[in-house]
């Protein structure tokens, strides 16, 4: 087993569960707000560090001792690598010390799943003791974490000898410099998104707003934003306020409908009930940038539009400002508010990176994350990897890469890529005989939490050996870099490969779709490709797809067109071990891809084949012939005979004898009847012998 597989266990020591817990919404709040004005590289500090020689030098530098940073530290420590972690706080996980403000973790804390399989249970068991856990984790494992070190500037120092052609030079708040061969950024997204509009100075931020509900008693509150932090705040004060209004640009997305854990979770959506059922609290849709807030003499806050403000006579007082209700007397937010709270989420801190690093924000709604490649490496700088929440641009709004339960797998993947790239340690793999092909897939799709959490992002890869007599199994590889598999893993894919990935149905969720529609589940294996819920999909390629094919793959497809594809039909219990519905169709698929027969046979069948066929099926070849045949019990053989899959030879067969005699009889008769002289061919032979 690979190092990674052991992780869960070695983290054991009574604190294992901690790693699986946490705030699922990495930034703690809704992702539906666009942060505006992302910081550029700060030129003021753009001064390449002194070459005074006493700089601290490391192979790996990790910025941030949060969950992903510490996890990477753990992997590097296990591999015996030279690394250091920089943490600006005095303890790990400073983000979690502050957030979520109302202590409403959105994790599902589910201890009972009806199964004892701990690998299966991983994604279901959370334990909200994040910070304590991180501290214990760092301390117990003696990870090299340098606390109270805030990296304020990062720049490059070109050097052809360096791993990536350059070193990363990090400067901390004390002007101490650190030289790193590889930079692993695990800072998360911690810069609060701020919207600037007239009157935004009256807005309180989520990060500082009071968490005591009494402070809100009898007040009317407007919340900007509609993510989990907005709802968390609303939920907290719901009982004491007059009413709460929430404003944001987009409509509410409910997590259980979208399968995206970052959308609004059921735990926080109490306000929806009061909105829908009591007409007290409300949700409004509007663009925050068109807003303006004016404060009247009594200190009440009025909502108006930027448009009115720009056209007003500046000399006039507050009363001269046009309010929307002046023209439109049923304007939704016409009532004045006591407080306006901003809950707009966070973004990545771009400010500390020198422009030469070309660390660019993503496009559109991914602009709070830096641009990275599917292997989590910066698009602009080789050797700079983004870990944790900030790496969510790879699977934003799709999978769980922005959340602890997802990025713990991607962090491991990045570590494996680094091990191969810099230390020649190939991606861990296990070689099995081909007879184990069906089993190994079934085992993984049933237990592998990484495939399950990071669906459509991480995939298991099966590399076939020559003649398909054996295969190599690689776990949880970032499927976005499939084309580069050979260079990224150090493994050879010359004889074809399978990619095992989990997918939702393509048309399952989205605006205006009823996710509970009747007949939504597909039950029959032959319609498996129409499965809606998360189910395993196996792609078969005769050769590795090229980068071009990866680029031009159909939109929304994790992979380009395969040579063959198999869907294992969705299962209500996510248990894909049914012999006929799950395993049999999979076996047929694999058999047809490989052009072989992957059935199991009892030793007796192999014995018969050994004497009557020149070639043996793989199961006999790799089992029976190596003296490991499956003898079976009499009862089982009886069952197989009943099923007509094994012949019963114990009943002595006399038909053969009868056939023989009748055969000869009829022949004799034929000869007699026609009284033809028998001329044996012997004659011909003899004549030839004389020659």
């Amino acid at each position: 087993m690979g190092l990674g597989m052991k992780m869960g266990l070695e983290m054991g020591m009574g604190i294992r569960m901690g790693m699986e817990m946490g705030i699922e919404d990495g930034d703690g709040v809704g992702d539906d707000e666009d942060g505006k004005g992302v910081g550029d590289g700060d030129e003021d500090r753009d001064r390449v560090g002194g070459k005074d020689g006493d700089e601290d030098k490391h192979d790996y530098c990790i910025i941030g001792a949060g969950p992903s940073g510490l996890q990477m530290a753990y992997f590097l420590q296990q591999a015996g690598r030279d690394y250091v972690v920089f943490e600006r706080g005095h303890a790990p996980g400073s983000f979690f010390a502050l957030y979520p403000r109302h202590r409403k973790l959105i994790s599902i804390n589910k201890q009972y799943t009806g199964k004892s399989n701990s690998e299966f249970n991983l994604p279901h068991a959370w334990n909200p003791l994040m910070v304590r856990y991180l501290e214990d984790f760092a301390a117990l494992l003696e990870l090299r974490v340098q606390y109270n070190t805030a990296i304020i500037h990062v720049t490059l120092d070109a050097d052809p000898q360096a791993w990536n052609g350059h070193y990363f030079v990090l400067t901390d708040q004390n002007r101490q410099k650190y030289k790193c061969s590889s930079l692993l950024v695990a800072t998360g997204t911690w810069v609060p998104n701020v919207v600037n509009f007239p009157g935004s100075e009256y807005v309180e931020g989520y990060e500082t707003v009071s968490i005591n509900p009494e402070d809100f008693a009898g007040q009317t509150v407007l919340i900007l934003g509609r993510g989990n932090s907005a709802f968390e705040t609303a939920e907290n004060i719901l009982g004491v306020t007059n009413f709460i209004h929430m404003v944001s640009r987009s409509r509410v997305r409910l997590s259980w409908a979208t399968h995206y854990v970052g959308d609004l979770r059921a735990i926080n959506n109490g306000l929806l009930d009061t909105y829908q059922l009591k007409s007290l609290d409300g949700l409004l849709e509007g663009d925050l940038e068109d807003l303006a807030i004016v404060k009247d003499k009594k200190g009440k806050l009025h909502i108006t539009l930027r448009y009115y403000l720009e056209n007003r006579n500046t000399s006039a007082g507050i009363d001269s400002i046009t309010l929307p209700q002046d023209e439109l007397d049923n304007f939704a937010t016409r009532a004045p508010y006591d407080r306006v709270i901003r809950c707009l989420g966070w973004k990545f801190d771009f400010a500390i990176y020198n422009r030469s690093l070309r660390l660019m924000p993503g496009k559109g709604n991914k602009n709070k994350y830096p641009q990275i490649k599917p292997n989590y490496e910066s698009r602009g700088t080789r050797g700079l990897f983004i870990l944790g929440t900030a790496s969510h641009s790879v699977d934003f709004r799709k999978s769980a890469g922005g959340f602890i339960h997802g990025f713990r797998y991607t962090t491991r993947a990045v570590h494996r890529l680094l091990e191969n790239r810099h230390h020649g340690v190939p991606w861990p793999s296990t070689v099995y005989p081909i007879t184990q092909l069906t089993n190994s897939i079934i085992k993984r799709v049933n237990e592998a939490s990484g495939l399950y959490q990071m669906f459509s992002v991480l995939a298991d890869i099966i590399l076939l050996r020559e003649n398909a007599t054996a295969f190599e199994y690689l776990e949880e590889y970032p499927v976005g870099v499939l084309a580069e598999l050979e260079t990224q893993t150090g493994r050879k894919a010359a004889n074809g490969l399978f990619v095992i990935i989990m997918e939702y149905g393509r048309n399952f969720s989205g605006a205006d779709k009823d996710v509970f529609y009747y007949n939504r589940a597909v039950g029959e294996a032959q319609h498996a490709w129409q499965s809606n819920f998360l189910h395993p999909v196996i792609y078969y390629y005769k050769r590795l797809p090229t980068e071009r094919e990866m680029r031009f793959r159909p939109p929304d497809w994790p992979l380009p067109r395969p040579d063959a594809i198999h869907h294992i039909v969705e299962d209500f219990l996510t248990d894909w071990t049914a012999p006929n519905a799950h395993i049999l169709p999979l076996r047929r698929f694999l058999e047809n891809c490989l052009g072989t027969d992957l059935r199991n046979f009892f030793a007796e069948s192999c014995f018969l084949f050994a004497f009557t066929r020149q070639k043996l099926p793989p199961f006999c070849q790799q089992g029976y012939v190596r003296m490991q045949g499956l003898v079976g019990t009499r009862r089982l053989q009886g069952h197989a005979m009943e099923a007509g899959l094994l012949e019963n030879y114990t009943v002595t067969d006399f038909t053969g004898d009868r056939l023989l005699s009748s055969h000869q009889g009829s022949q004799d008769q034929l000869l007699q009847d026609h009284a033809m002289p028998v001329r044996p061919l012997q004659h011909v032979v003899n004549a030839k012998d004389e020659l």
Binding site: S116, S118, R599, L608, F611, G629, V631, D653, H674, V684
Partner: protein
């Protein structure tokens, strides 16, 4: 539909028409009308028009006037009335067509009722033309129709004779008592030049259908023996086109006449089953053995011509008949398979182990003797003083569950055995333990000795073998013996009593004090063989003396077989543990073993041909002695001499079935080239099995003078059935896929040139079965025929002659 005037005015000379007169359709005539309408098309093929004549009410003419005339149908040729049929004789399309043609072909098809009539017709035809004699149990049947339709086409070429008397069939030599089914005989009267000479008859062995009759007549019309003078690969005859094999008699100039007679004889035997051709060897440059005298060409494309050396005409006939039988079966299977394909039986389990286990799943296993371990209890169980046997399995995996059932039998068998604890871990529930124990395959069986080194079982997954392993592995391997007495005792088989029932042979390694390298290698070999073999070791000062007794010097192995108590000394020349393991395994093989399912793999590993005697029960004393003599000869290294007891190993019947078309008398001695070529030769049944006879037979085999009785299939193991082609399903419904350049929507995909970047998706396109049973195989017999069936145009032409 016409009025009577119109109808009679339209009747053309020479054209036949079937008319039905009706006034107002009575309900009772309704079914008849339906049938008549259905037969319009069929009769039109023969140029017969079908007319319904509406009688005006006032019409009292011959056809319209009388009440009972309305219950009849009338057959006219031109305006001449040929026959009137009561409507109840025309109950369906078959009866209508049969009866109408029967009436029209009155001259072409003679109806006979007595033997004498038949004999007269036969005699009149002798030397002139051939006769087609058909028996149908009743007229108006589908068979009757087929005969009439055939007569319509071939009536001018052959004399057709029809009977409904089963008596007439009994005589012509067909002893088939089943006269309920229709039959057709082709009587070769043209060849009977003398009146006294009977006409040869060739029965048609297929069901009476138009297609089969056509085929049969075509075959009868082909020359008896085709003379060819070109490469057999290029020859094509009507037989091959109809899906029958073609037998070539390879002739020499000197013996041409005799060979020709042989060919004719064979041809008569095979008439209707295969074609026969005679090929003078000097006419073409054949690159085959000079001894070959017969060649067989099958209609299957791509199957090379087989050249054979046969001694007897019977062999030729058997060769073909077995083949055609096989094909018949295969054809049936083909059809079945087609049906199956339509029924989509991909979801039917065809894995014997999976199916057997799932049929057994509801039975509660008696697991009382087996401890179920979990992630929590596994570590503590390892601390037990007993040796802990652990079965690691997955509860969803069929092989695991099959082994679990054997394991239950082991637990029952070993009940009460001290010092052994049987347990199991379900890796599906507790993957942590299994990962930690590095279990990569299901099932895995390990024996843990008080927390120390675990021993992984790698033998047969059966209860006997496993029980033996568990018991034998209790003894340390190798067992260190302290005194010469102990060593001697060990060689005599003195072992702890609980082991005796599992013990087969003792191996004692004898080492002088100095040979520590060999000793260590031997000890390592012991670790590997632990549980499978009992090994002893002696390295005291007097080791030299001990080994001298057996004519070897240390390091040496002393091998004591429990069967005869003899001790064999073998010098230990190899020094590595693996070599020693190999050597011990090899030395423990029997000279003349009884082959069983369990021990075959040991002998297979030698990769030698097998000389195997199949016997129903124990083999006779003399045969046993002769075979032992044979096995003990030194060149024995070249092959494995063994025997198989069909009583102990019933699956041996399956082997014999594959080797011989018919079960030979037992015992039978067979030579099988398992690893090279796969030929099977059987020892001539007449000869006594003695060392000399067998040896001389083997000599002949080597010289290539014997003909294999069969050859083992070298077919690959292909997927038994196709998979669901999800890619195709998605292509037709998921539009994104159309973006892909290689896929053209809605068009059948052309096979792409090799080397093009996009190869075809293998699913569903790969050949799903062994070669020969593929769906694509369009040239299976019968199917081709559709193209050669009589063309309707031809019938039109002939019709004018009627």
């Amino acid at each position: 539909e016409l009025g009577p005037q119109e109808y009679f005015s339209r009747l053309q000379a020479g054209r036949a028409s079937l008319a039905f007169f009706s006034r107002n359709v009575s309900p009772s005539a309704q079914p008849f009308l339906e049938q008549i309408e259905n037969s319009v098309e069929a009769l039109q093929d023969y140029g017969i028009s079908v007319v319904k004549v509406n009688c005006p009410k006032e019409d009292v003419s011959r056809y319209c006037g009388k009440e009972n005339a309305l219950r009849k149908a009338y057959l006219f040729r031109g305006n001449i009335l040929l026959r009137e049929f009561p409507t109840d004789a025309l109950f369906d399309v078959n009866s209508i067509v049969a009866n109408v043609l029967f009436a029209l072909l009155f001259n072409e098809v003679k109806y006979v009722e007595t033997m004498a009539d038949l004999q007269n017709i036969e005699n009149s035809l002798k030397g002139r033309s051939n006769m087609v004699f058909a028996y149908v149990p009743a007229t108006g049947t589908a068979e009757h129709r087929a005969v009439m339709e055939a007569a319509f086409v071939y009536g001018t070429a052959h004399q057709f004779v029809l009977t409904t008397e089963a008596m007439l069939m009994k005589d012509p030599g067909s002893d088939d008592p089943d006269v309920s089914s229709a039959q057709l005989l082709f009587c070769h009267c043209q060849r009977a030049l003398e009146l006294a000479q009977p006409c040869r008859r060739t029965p048609m062995e297929r069901p009476l259908t138009l297609l089969n009759i056509h085929r049969h007549l075509k075959l009868m019309g082909a020359p008896l023996v085709t003379e060819v003078a070109e490469d057999p690969e290029k020859v094509s005859t009507v037989h091959l086109q109809l899906g029958l094999p073609l037998v070539f008699i390879l002739s020499q100039k000197e013996t041409y006449e005799a060979d020709r007679r042989t060919a004719e004889f064979v041809a008569w035997q095979l008439l209707g089953k295969a074609g026969v051709a005679i090929l003078p060897r000097d006419a073409v440059d054949l690159n085959v053995l000079l001894r070959s005298n017969v060649a067989l060409k099958t209609p299957d494309e791509g199957v090379p011509i087989k050249y054979l050396v046969l001694e007897d005409t019977d062999e030729v006939i058997t060769l073909v008949e077995d083949k055609s039988k096989l094909e018949q079966i295969q054809e049936d299977e083909d059809e079945e398979e087609e049906d199956e394909k339509e029924n989509d039986n991909q979801d039917i389990q065809d894995d014997q182990v999976v199916e057997a286990v799932s049929r057994d799943r509801k039975r509660e296993l008696p697991l009382e003797q087996i401890l179920t371990l979990t992630e929590e209890t596994f570590p503590s169980a390892m601390l037990e003083p007993a040796r802990v046997v652990v079965l690691f399995y997955a509860s969803w995996e069929a092989v695991s569950l099959a082994v679990l059932r054997s394991y239950v039998e082991v637990s029952d068998h070993l009940k009460g055995t001290q010092g052994v604890l049987l347990s199991k871990v379900n890796c599906w529930d507790w993957p942590g333990v299994c990962t930690k124990e590095n279990i990569t395959q299901f099932p895995t069986i390990r024996i843990y000795k008080n927390g120390g080194r675990a021993l992984t079982y790698n033998g047969m997954l059966g209860s006997e073998e496993l029980a033996s392993f568990i018991v034998l592995s209790q003894v340390s391997c190798p067992l260190k013996l302290a005194t010469v007495e102990e060593a001697e005792g060990y060689l005599r088989g003195e072992l702890p009593p609980e082991l005796s029932s599992y013990h087969h042979a003792s191996v004692l390694g004898v080492f002088s004090k100095a040979t520590s390298v060999a000793r260590e290698a031997f000890m390592e070999a012991g670790n590997i063989l632990s549980g499978h073999v009992t090994l002893g070791m002696y390295f005291e000062d007097d080791a030299l003396a001990l080994s001298r007794k057996y004519a070897v010097s240390p390091p040496a192995l002393l091998l004591a077989r429990s069967r005869d108590g003899s001790v064999e000394g073998i010098a230990l020349s190899k020094q590595s543990a693996q070599d020693i393991v190999q050597m011990i395994r090899y030395e423990l093989l029997d000279t003349f073993p009884e082959i069983t399912v369990q021990n075959l793999p040991h002998y297979l590993q030698l990769r030698r041909p097998f000389l195997i005697m199949f016997s129903n029960g124990d083999i006779g004393q003399t045969e046993n002695e002769e075979m032992l003599k044979l096995a003990k000869r030194r060149p024995q290294q070249a092959f494995v001499t063994c025997w198989l007891n069909l009583k102990n190993t019933p699956v041996g019947h399956g082997i014999l079935k594959a080797y011989f078309a018919t079960l030979p008398s037992l015992p039978v001695l067979v030579w099988v080239n398992l690893h090279a070529g796969g030929q099977v030769f059987s020892f001539p049944p007449g000869q006594p099995i003695t060392e000399t006879n067998v040896l001389s037979w083997l000599e002949k085999l080597k010289a290539g003078l014997e003909i294999p009785s069969s050859t083992l299939s070298e077919a690959d193991w292909k997927p038994p059935l196709p998979a669901y082609n999800f890619l195709q399903m998605m292509e037709t419904t998921v539009p994104e896929f159309t973006l892909h350049p290689s896929f053209s929507h809605g068009e059948p995909r052309e096979p792409q040139p090799p080397g093009s970047s996009e190869e075809k998706a293998p699913v569903g396109e790969e050949q799903p079965e062994e070669p020969g049973v593929t769906a694509e195989k369009g040239q299976s017999p019968g199917r081709d025929l559709r193209g050669t069936a009589p063309r309707l145009a031809g019938r039109e032409k002939r019709h004018s002659e009627l």
